[in-house]
Structures are given as structure tokens and as C-alpha cells.
Amino acid sequence: MSETAELDVAHVAKLARLDLTEEETKLFQAQLGRVLEYAEKLRELDLSGVEETAHAIPVFNVFRPDEPQAWLTAEEALNNAPRQADGLFIVPKVVE
């Protein structure tokens, strides 16, 4: 049995903090089901002993001097915010 059938779009949407309508959930369930079915192809390969590639051209030990540099002001960092006041981002109350 493939894992394809196990994709539960409604559950994954919750994990992703993404509200979906019922129609979207149904549509994505069908469309992503086909994409995952296509991805089943990867099971044809014997991958024992094959290492994962996270970066095609990895570079190691990248350092730079730890020196302060001019960067965004607090005002600049805030002025794309949908709501802000007194130098802070405003969000709904998180503690009752």
C-alpha cells in the first residue's frame, strides 16, 4: 500500500497554519494525490547506501569578522508591519 492515500489535506493545512475552504481541500486532495502518485516513481530505485544531498555544492567553515554594521533602523524594520505602535509589532492577545 502506498502512502499516497494517507495524505490528509485538512490535517496538513492545520500544521501549516493555512485555512483552506472545503472546495480547496477537496481540490488539493485530488491534485496532490496525483502528484504523490507520480512521486511513487522514486520507489523503483534501490537507494540503500546512497547518501542524501542537502546542498549540491556544500561549503564549510564560512566565517566573517563579527563586527557591527549599519542595518535597518527599528523604524524601517517596523514600517512594513500591518500594525505597529511604540516601536513594537501589535498582535492579538496571546495570554488571557
Binding site: 502512502e3 502528484v35 507520480y38 547518501e51
Partner: protein, 496 residues
């Protein structure tokens, strides 16, 4: 030269006129402005323009700099200080960048003038630019067709002479495929050759910024300006940057070009196949040796690519939460409601699909089955290329199996759209460089001519070599001199 003729020029030609003081950067920018006003209603390549600021930059341009006074269009996923950076997404509709991406800073240091941001698939997810939340960019060769994607605005602008040259980004083919479908040159640098600092991140292990231009020489000029290490991007390679223009004009005798046999079977359009066969003959007559090679894991590239790209996207796009920037849902009940509805309202369907797919393949219990497996297949794809490059200097193929397809033809079926990247996305998985350049035309049943793009893939950091090979081909053909018949289509486009 009359102002109306200026927009048809490439970067090198324009620069030569500036240096001979025959044309000023201001005159070139004004001529470009007129051209954009003329064609933009039909091709819709731009999301924002800032000519006032650009004129101020043109007035003080130093034309002796490598790109002094040359206007360059920028894909709207790359930050330009003071300009919008929307990624063609509703979630960033009102966002303005406060700083320059490193590539933009480097362009400015070379004297170039970023004057406008180009349309794209939302967050660079797509192969047709139809996933833009703002507008549909049209292919200048046939306004009923897509320009390719995701850098479709950049490609269409260059093809329509509404830009002298442009920057795009390529995560799975998003520079090369629109370059092919729109009839221009597009280069994806080696992963790490160009800084990603200031690009809005989609798939961090795959994407690179690169040039879309009218000629191979112009691509080399732009790459010279943007390549190199950056203390702000730890994945940037520290290798020194050669002069990419230096080998242009060198002959091809002794060059070995590989034809990956797996690329010749997968549903290639017959006219694309003919163009490839003619290119093989052309390269042979130029002195190159053509060698049959195999990339045995080609058929697994797309599945591996979409699992990895979606996984990285789901993590990168978690930052869009309605708190620090971008759209925010009205009257949230609590923080979770704010996140869920902000993202529901702000993201388009393809972005949502990839977030779901990416979250799923990274979730507990499925990670090994999908993500880890895809990363292992990525290793096999890298090995395929390493073995091929032990035998040949570069690989030749079509860039896309088909010429530009009609608007709407593939947008309902995500898998069909993913398959558009079949010849391009393995290069991103392997981190190698690639270039697409004009290689002929296909004729539709209606008699419209559509450009065909050819692709050369080179080993890591071998941009100089693929530029040299593409240049030799370009100089022996006239494809790149042809221009889309935009004027002739003026009346028919009113019916779209």
C-alpha cells in the same frame, strides 16, 4: 540613431553608444519609457516602474563603469531599496524593500539602473507566469500564449524590447524556460556563484539569480557584474570570478558536446526535435564533436525536484504570518486565527498547494518516505552529471520539450505544469550551470512563429565555457536577430 531605434539594442551596443557620447543614458531611458508605454498594454510584463528615480540615476551615471547608465529590469522577487517587492503575491502587495539585494547592489556599483520590477509566477512557483496574482504576461511572439515562467515578465520585456536586459531567478528552470519560450538568452549560474541575499526565499538549496538578455555577450556582461562571494550569503562560493566575456569568440575545435539520450525520448515536439538536429549539425560544422551520453536517472528528476522544492518552500513561507510585514486578516479572534486566515487570503492556489505538499513530506512519519528519498535521488542525479562531464565539456538539449503553450492550457493541471521543467530542473538539483539561447522557430497551425530555445549545461563554475559555446553558435546563426511582430498584432490583441 533615432530614439525609437534605441530599445532594440542590447547592453553591449548601448554601452558602446554611451561611451562614444552618441547617446546619453537619459536619452536611452526616455526611449525605453516610450517603448514600455507602447507595448506594455499588450504584454503586461511589469508590476512596478520608477522612472523618476531612474532618471535621477541616469543624470549622474558614469558611462565608463562596466554597465554605466544601462537600465536593467528586475524580477519582483529581488529586493531593490525603496521599490515594491511583491513576488506577484497578494500577501506582499504593500511591501517595500528597505535594502538592495546583493545582486542589485552589485549592478548599481557597476553603474546599472534598476528602474522596474517584472511580473512572475507568485513566489516563483510556476512555468507560465499565469500564477501571478496581478496580471497575465503574454508572449510577445503570440499574445495568446504564455511567456514561460516563472521569470516570464523579465523574458517578455527583453523579447519585446521593453528592457535592454533583465535579472530573473531560476529554481527549476525559471530563467532558462521563459528565455526559451520568449526567444531570448537566459543563464542560470552554478549554485553559489551569485549571492541570494535579498531574494525572497522559495527553495534555498536550488535557486540562483541570473541574466535574461538579447545576446550571449550581454549575458556574460551581466554575469560579470553580479557573480562573486558575499559575506551575507554563507552558501556563496569563494572562487574568484573570471571575466566571462574573455573566451567569447574562441573557436569550438576540440570541444566535446554530449547529447543526453534520455532527453531525446520524452515527448519532444517534432519541430523542437528538428531544431536540435539542425543545431547538432551546426555545432559539428563549427568543429565541436558530438558524443552520445546517458543521464540514467533523468526520469526521477521531476519527482525529486518537486518534493524538495515544496519542502523548502513550506519552511521558507512560514515567515508570512501577518505580523511583521505583508497582508494581515481583519479582526482576528486569536493568533492562530490571524495566521490561518492571513495566509488563506494572501496566498494563491499554487503556493497553497506547495505549502501543503511540502509540509506533508516533511511531517513526522513521511519524511523518510518522501523527502529523504528525494534527497537520495538528488545524489544519483549529481553522479549522473559528474559521469557525463568526465566525457564531455557540456551537454546539449532543447530547453523545453515544447514551444510556448496557449494561456490556460496547463493551468488547471499542476502535474502537467511541473512537466514543463523536464529538461531544466535536474541542473538545479545538481547545482550546475546552464544557458538557454535561441535555436530556431516552430510554426503553429495558424502560421505564427514561436521561438525554440536550446540549452547547454556545464559543470559547476563552468559558465565561461557554456557562454563560449553558445556564443559561437549564436554568431553562426541569425535567430537572435529576429524580433516579435508586436506591431502587426496590435489590432488582434484587442480581442483577447
Amino acid at each position: 540613431m533615432s530614439p525609437a531605434d534605441l530599445p532594440a539594442l542590447g547592453l553591449a551596443e548601448l554601452q558602446a553608444l554611451f561611451r562614444r557620447r552618441e547617446v546619453s543614458p537619459r536619452e536611452a531611458l526616455e526611449a525605453l519609457h516610450v517603448r514600455i508605454a507602447e507595448v506594455e498594454p499588450r504584454i503586461e510584463a511589469y508590476l512596478s516602474l520608477d522612472f523618476e528615480d531612474a532618471l535621477a540615476q541616469a543624470e549622474r551615471a558614469d558611462v565608463n563603469l562596466p554597465l554605466g547608465g544601462v537600465p536593467i529590469a528586475i524580477k519582483d522577487i529581488i529586493s531593490v531599496a525603496g521599490q515594491p517587492c511583491t513576488c506577484a503575491s497578494k500577501i506582499l502587495r504593500n511591501y517595500r524593500a528597505h535594502y538592495d539585494a546583493t545582486v542589485v547592489g552589485k549592478l548599481k556599483a557597476a553603474g546599472a539602473i534598476p528602474f522596474g520590477k517584472t511580473n512572475m509566477d507568485e513566489f516563483a512557483m510556476g512555468a507560465s507566469t499565469e500564477n501571478s496574482s496581478v496580471k497575465r504576461t503574454r508572449n510577445p511572439w503570440d499574445l495568446s500564449r504564455v511567456p514561460g515562467g516563472s521569470s516570464g515578465g523579465s523574458a517578455a520585456a527583453v523579447a519585446a524590447d521593453a528592457a535592454f536586459g533583465a535579472l530573473g531567478t531560476d529554481t527549476g528552470g525559471s530563467i532558462r524556460q521563459p528565455a526559451a519560450l520568449s526567444g531570448v538568452v537566459g543563464l542560470k549560474p552554478t549554485y553559489g556563484r551569485v549571492s541570494r541575499f535579498g531574494l525572497v526565499a522559495f527553495a534555498s538549496s536550488l535557486e540562483q539569480a541570473g541574466p535574461l538578455t538579447k545576446t550571449v555577450r550581454d549575458a556574460a556582461l551581466l554575469l560579470n557584474a553580479i557573480a562573486g562571494p558575499d559575506p551575507r550569503d554563507s552558501t556563496c562560493l569563494h572562487d574568484s570570478v573570471p571575466d566571462y566575456s574573455a573566451n567569447l569568440g574562441r573557436e569550438l575545435r576540440g570541444i566535446r558536446l554530449g547529447l543526453p539520450r534520455e532527453y531525446l525520448t520524452e515527448g519532444i515536439d517534432s519541430q523542437v526535435r528538428t531544431a536540435l538536429d539542425q543545431a547538432v549539425a551546426q555545432f559539428t560544422s563549427l568543429g565541436a564533436e558530438i558524443v552520445d551520453v546517458s543521464l540514467p536517472h533523468t526520469e526521477y528528476a521531476i519527482a525529486s525536484y518537486y518534493l524538495i522544492a515544496s519542502a523548502e518552500a513550506s519552511a521558507n513561507l512560514a515567515r508570512f504570518d501577518g505580523v511583521r510585514y505583508g497582508h494581515r486578516a481583519e479582526n482576528p479572534l486569536n493568533l492562530l486565527d490571524l495566521y490561518g486566515r492571513t495566509r488563506a487570503e494572501g496566498f494563491g492556489p499554487e503556493v497553497k498547494r506547495r505549502i501543503i505538499l511540502g509540509t506533508y513530506v516533511l511531517s513526522s512519519g513521511y519524511y523518510e518516505a518522501y523527502y529523504a528519498r528525494a534527497q537520495k535521488v538528488r545524489t544519483l542525479i549529481r553522479r549522473d552529471f559528474a559521469e557525463a562531464f568526465a566525457k564531455v565539456d557540456a551537454l546539449l538539449s532543447p530547453t523545453s520539450p515544447v514551444p510556448a503553450f496557449p494561456l490556460g492550457e496547463r493551468s488547471a493541471d499542476p502535474l502537467q505544469m511541473y512537466l514543463a521543467d523536464i529538461f531544466t530542473n535536474a541542473a538545479n538539483l545538481a547545482g550546475i550551470c546552464g544557458i538557454s539561447f535561441p535555436g530556431g522557430f516552430a510554426t503553429t497551425q495558424a502560421g505564427t512563429r514561436l521561438p525554440i530555445g536550446l540549452q547547454l549545461l556545464g559543470k559547476a563554475l563552468d559558465e565561461g565555457q557554456i557562454l563560449q559555446i553558445a556564443y559561437a553558435y549564436e554568431q553562426s546563426t541569425d535567430w537572435h536577430k529576429e524580433r516579435p511582430p508586436l506591431r502587426a498584432q496590435k489590432t488582434s490583441s484587442a480581442n483577447l
